[in-house]
């Protein structure tokens, strides 16, 4: 992948270690830090989550309310957590970024949401999508590798099909992106 060429670029903004420390540990450390920062503001537009962090006590769940037996709650919850932990995490790379990220496709309901999430994560903007022309107006193009190993443009297939076939995401930049038929 092209980003591998960028590993040694000094202009990594997230350098935490002192000069001389290994790239590996730096990356891990900064990744951890970023993750902990980022997870507090998930890309799913979620005012609720923000509320939960600063919420007044009344938002906390009251004991025994609503009146559902724990047996029933547990039965539904085991299913929920099973789904949550399995998730559908795919790697996301962006040309020019030093390291990969991961997103859980299961938490999004459609393309606009996941694209917004990627935009927030990597600080870029996608262009406008059209079936004929792909993404218009930006040098960044979201692509994904499907089950067959082919690189596809994000947005071409129905959402469900995308979620089930996407193996990894890559935000292409510049000249390479043009190869997929978009107009810059």
């Amino acid at each position: 992948m092209t980003f591998e060429k960028d590993i040694n670029i000094d202009a990594t903004e997230l350098r935490l270690g002192l000069p001389g420390t290994s790239e590996e540990s730096e990356r891990q450390a900064s990744t951890t830090l970023r993750i902990s920062n980022k997870r507090a503001l998930p890309s799913v537009a979620d005012e609720k989550q923000c509320d939960q962090e600063t919420a007044p006590p009344t938002k906390a769940q009251v004991v025994g309310w609503p009146p559902i037996r724990s047996y029933r709650k547990n039965n539904l919850q085991t299913k929920k957590t099973e789904v949550e932990t399995s998730g559908m995490y795919v790697k996301v790379s962006m040309d020019g970024a030093p390291y990969l990220r991961k997103v859980d496709l299961k938490i999004y309901k459609g393309y606009p949401e996941v694209l917004k999430a990627l935009e927030d994560m990597f600080k870029f903007k996608v262009g406008k999508y059209s079936e004929r022309e792909g993404y218009n107006g930006s040098e960044f193009v979201p692509t994904y590798e499907d089950k067959d190993g082919d690189w596809m443009l994000v947005g071409d297939v129905p959402w469900e099909m995308f979620v089930n076939s996407c193996k990894r995401l890559r935000i292409m930049k510049g000249s390479e992106a043009r190869g997929l038929g978009c107009v810059v």
Partner: protein, 611 residues
């Protein structure tokens, strides 16, 4: 399905002062049931006749009435009562019960109050079956049936039942706990005549004992095996053998560890089933994708007597079409563990013309309920449970669904409906469209939530229910409610026997209206409502007629409760604290009081004080 079944209640056998005195004066007692030869001849004939006649009396209410006629009737009724129902295990002791009733074949006992289900009470409060088990084993060696609800049953108790009761046939445990698979193993092994083993919403600990293999070999008389709440793997081969050896098996409810492939194998061995709980209704992980899928449709089609379907614990909706062949005959369908959409429900429900009981998750949304209303004209009971049981969760069902049901299902008798929003208009509509309602339980999950359209409290909605539904005996209220709602209930809810209140009311008047206005009230459970000692006092005239009163997080003080305890010697007044709290002098966290012939119980945990 027996989650909080509505039961015919009346002053049950746990408290009868007149009879009690009669018994004390009656020196001969009822011994082993032989006629008393010291009576004069004509009296003897009368008693024999009476005995024969009373054998036909089955209703508890009728029997209680009969026992009050005179000493003679009391004695004979006691001899002929074969089914003993005790609504509160602490209202009467095993000794007293076995002394009065000597020929009991079936025992039904209820223990903890219902609010204990919602973790409002610390565990180990009581309701131990053990003293009853021992007493039964001694007094009724011929005992055949035991039906327990919200009791703590130990493995030893199960062993007692199995070993000492030779003809034991039927065990039903609803919302019980305290035992495990090793207890079950002993029980099923020793009970050679077992016909019914129903474990319903009970907590069974996994002792890693293969209890299914412990059923005796050879032909079994098993008619009902319900174990959908047992959260552990079972030996499927042993189960398959058991089902194959049980030609009388009519009811089988599997747990979620049984895959759909295994279900198939059982179904083809038991096409005579009338009640089926499908287990997980999804393939096991081991099954390869290339494996030939069995013909599930055929298996269901072969079950021509199937009327009650439940399970679907880990449903893969793709398999739902398999049940099409049985839909037309179904009278009861429980989808309350199946997270399915309206679209997935529609093809099924549109075939269920005979459906009378339907339990479902709100994942079907208002649209799904509309589909139910369009087809299920015979619906008697509907329960809609929330997928997301939180106060501020998504609300896929609303007044729209309730309105639709009220218009489509005119014969509705019982409803339990969880939602995030509800309007007075919809509730009023239901009160008018469904005059046969006996049970109305509405749970608006957001506390103190007003009618979102008018901004008004929900008083008028519930008021309409008690006014228009003349047969109503059970009511659960929610949403923003003022004292006015309780005024309506007191004025019009003349048949109400069970009332559940949470986060409602403004003042003592609320509770007063109910205690003064509802003569049939037997079970009152209240939480987090502003009712205090004065309100409590207003029920003094009625507490002996009630099975229990529960009040938690209200405005009661120890003095107020003490006053009640002093005024009513036959009432047991329990003050319960959260286990980790120290004694608080000025507030009563939980009050649980009930009539009893026995006085304070002897098995009190540390966090309970009896005033």
């Amino acid at each position: 399905m027996s989650e909080d079944d509505e039961r015919q209640q009346s002053p049950p056998s746990d408290l009868e002062f007149v009879s009690n005195k009669a018994r004390n004066c009656n020196a001969t007692g009822s011994g082993s049931g032989h006629p008393e030869f010291q009576s004069a001849y004509p009296d003897q004939v009368l008693e024999n006749v009476l005995e024969n006649v009373l054998h036909f009396l089955t209703s508890k209410r009728d029997r209680n009435a009969a026992s009050l006629v005179c000493k003679s009737w009391y004695r004979v009724e006691a001899l002929t009562r074969s089914e003993l129902f005790i609504g509160n295990c602490y209202a009467v002791s095993p000794a007293r019960a076995t002394a009065r009733f000597t020929r009991v074949r079936a025992l039904q006992l209820k223990g903890k109050p219902r609010f204990a289900d919602f973790n409002l009470m610390p565990p180990d409060w009581g309701a131990h079956f053990n003293p009853w088990a021992l007493a039964m084993a001694k007094a009724y060696p011929w005992l055949e049936k035991v039906h327990l609800k919200r009791m703590t049953v130990t493995d030893d108790d199960l062993a007692t039942l199995a070993e000492l009761l030779l003809g034991f046939k039927e065990l039903v445990l609803v919302c019980c706990d305290g035992f495990g698979t090793s207890g079950l193993a002993i029980f099923v092994n020793k009970c050679r005549q077992l016909k019914v083993l129903d474990l319903i919403e009970s907590e069974v600990s996994d002792d890693e004992t293969d209890w299914i293999s412990c059923f005796p070999e050879g032909e079994s008389q098993l008619e009902s095996l319900i174990f959908d709440c047992v959260e552990c793997h079972i030996n499927f081969e042993a189960l398959e053998r058991l089902v194959a050896n049980s030609p009388s098996l009519k009811k089988l409810r599997l747990n979620r560890y049984v895959s759909i492939g295994q279900l198939y194998r059982l179904m083809i061995r038991a096409p005579q089933l009338t009640h089926l709980g499908t287990g997980s209704f999804s393939p096991s992980e081991i099954a390869g994708q290339g494996d030939q899928e069995p013909d599930y449709v055929n298996a269901f089609a072969a079950c021509k007597s199937l009327v009650c379907l439940s399970g679907f614990r880990e449903i893969i909706p793709d398999y739902l079409p398999a049940i099409y062949p049985v839909c037309a005959n179904l009278t009861s369908l429980n989808f309350s563990y199946a997270n399915i959409t309206a679209e997935q429900l529609k093809p099924i429900i549109s075939k269920c013309h005979k459906l009378q009981v339907f339990w479902v998750l709100d994942s079907i949304c208002d649209e799904g309920l509309q589909a139910v209303a369009a087809t299920c004209k015979e619906l008697r009971e509907l329960r809609v449970f929330p997928v997301d049981p939180r106060e501020d969760g998504d609300g896929p069902v609303s007044e729209v669904g309730l309105q639709a049901i009220s218009e489509g299902c005119r014969k509705l008798q019982s409803i339990l409906y969880f939602c995030q929003r509800m309007t007075n208009a919809a509730v009023i509509a239901m009160s008018k469209n469904c005059p046969d309602l006996v049970v109305f339980r509405l749970c608006i999950m957001g506390r103190h939530r007003a009618d979102p359209v008018t901004g008004e409290p929900m008083d008028d909605g519930f008021g309409a229910i008690v006014m228009n539904c003349k047969k109503l005996t059970r009511l659960a209220v929610s949403g923003l409610l003022t004292d006015k709602a309780f005024d309506y209930i007191g004025q019009h809810g003349k048949l109400v026997r069970t009332l559940s209140v949470a986060f409602a009311g403004d003042s003592d008047m609320g509770l007063k209206y109910v205690l003064e206005g509802c003569p049939q009230l037997q079970k009152l459970e209240i939480r987090d409502s502003p009712f205090g000692d004065a309100a409590l006092r207003s029920g003094l005239h009625h507490y002996y007629n009630m099975r229990f009163l529960w009040m938690s997080s209200c405005r009661l003080t120890p003095n107020g409760c003490q006053e009640i305890a002093r005024a009513m010697p036959r009432l047991v007044v329990e003050v319960i604290r959260s286990a980790d709290e120290e004694e608080m002098d000025d507030a009563v966290e939980i009050l649980y009081m009930y009539r009893s012939l026995e006085g304070p119980r002897t098995d009190l945990p540390k966090f309970v004080t009896i005033l």
